[in-house]
Symmetry: C2
Subunit: 177 residues, 2 copies
């Protein structure tokens, strides 16, 4: 009888959805993992663990799915939570960076007072694909003077080489494809 490791168990709860959001794409649906209280809690613990001694001041995550692990990890580490949002959603003074979409560009924004110079910042997202979004978020964090202690992802699609774009920072991921 084989026993799954905690990470294998998490991976087994991720569902492939073919042709979403468009024909030919296989979407990695994490909602079955999220909806299981024990697995969600395990994932938050495993993602937080490498950073428990890193004195993280702020966890930064991008709407909407990024908020899920971002906020849970921030609370676990007793760090502040900083939302990065799409254009026009944040109410106060903000700075922005462009990032590439498949067709065209879009913009991500962060509040100017979200990070104080020298604060230690952890970037959290559910998925590392090409790294384009993360690259824009890193620029935002650095423009505010934040020190990036790491980037952590539930899933990493290694064949897309996103890690290469983030090579100046420690990158951790739980589940790889």
């Amino acid at each position: 009888m084989q026993t799954l490791t905690p990470v294998q168990e998490l991976k087994s709860a991720i569902r492939d959805v073919p042709d979403f959001p468009k024909k030919g794409v296989i979407f990695k649906d994490i909602t079955p993992l999220l909806s299981d209280g024990r697995l969600f809690n395990d994932a938050v613990g495993l993602l937080s663990r490498p950073y428990t001694a890193s004195h993280v001041h702020k966890v930064v995550a991008v709407e909407a799915r990024g908020f899920i692990f971002g906020a849970a990890i921030a609370a676990r580490l007793e760090a502040g939570f900083i939302p990065v949002r799409k254009k026009g959603k944040l109410p106060h003074t903000r700075i922005k960076e462009s990032y590439e979409l498949e067709y065209g560009v879009d913009q991500l924004e962060i509040h100017q007072d979200a990070i104080v110079k020298g604060e230690r910042v952890l970037l959290v997202d559910d998925l590392l694909a090409t790294g384009g979004t993360c690259d824009a978020v890193i620029k935002l964090i650095r423009r505010l003077g934040g020190e990036i202690v790491g980037c952590t992802f539930l899933i990493e699609l290694t064949f897309l080489n996103g890690r290469k774009r983030l090579k100046d920072y420690p990158v951790t991921s739980l589940i790889t494809y």
Copy 2:
């Protein structure tokens, strides 16, 4: 010398932004509260506390801001997290409900397998205003057979009487205006 209660301290970290998202509206900006690790952690603790003995199976929250407290509370309660999203964002089989906007209607969706009949569900959001969104989410939860153990909000705008629309369920809020 006066000492603030924990709730007063949270309230003092909420920022009024005039004329957002449009002229004449004063927006309650919670990002200064979120960005302070101690305050964010306190808020998650205070919002979770009434439900620690409620055997919550699933926490349901609406994108995007609802995910922040929803996910952190789910992890705190060791419950599953269920995202409710706008039209077309969830990849698998879903059901939907319409809700009223100021002009026109929009739709919210939940995965059909997100809740199993009889599961105990806590609804979390950052703001209770008119209750229109919550009302739609409650319908989604009930259609899947979920039993709603409560609705909890960081902020309640009492003058909008949202609580009246949720009168069949326990409602808790931390900060009222």
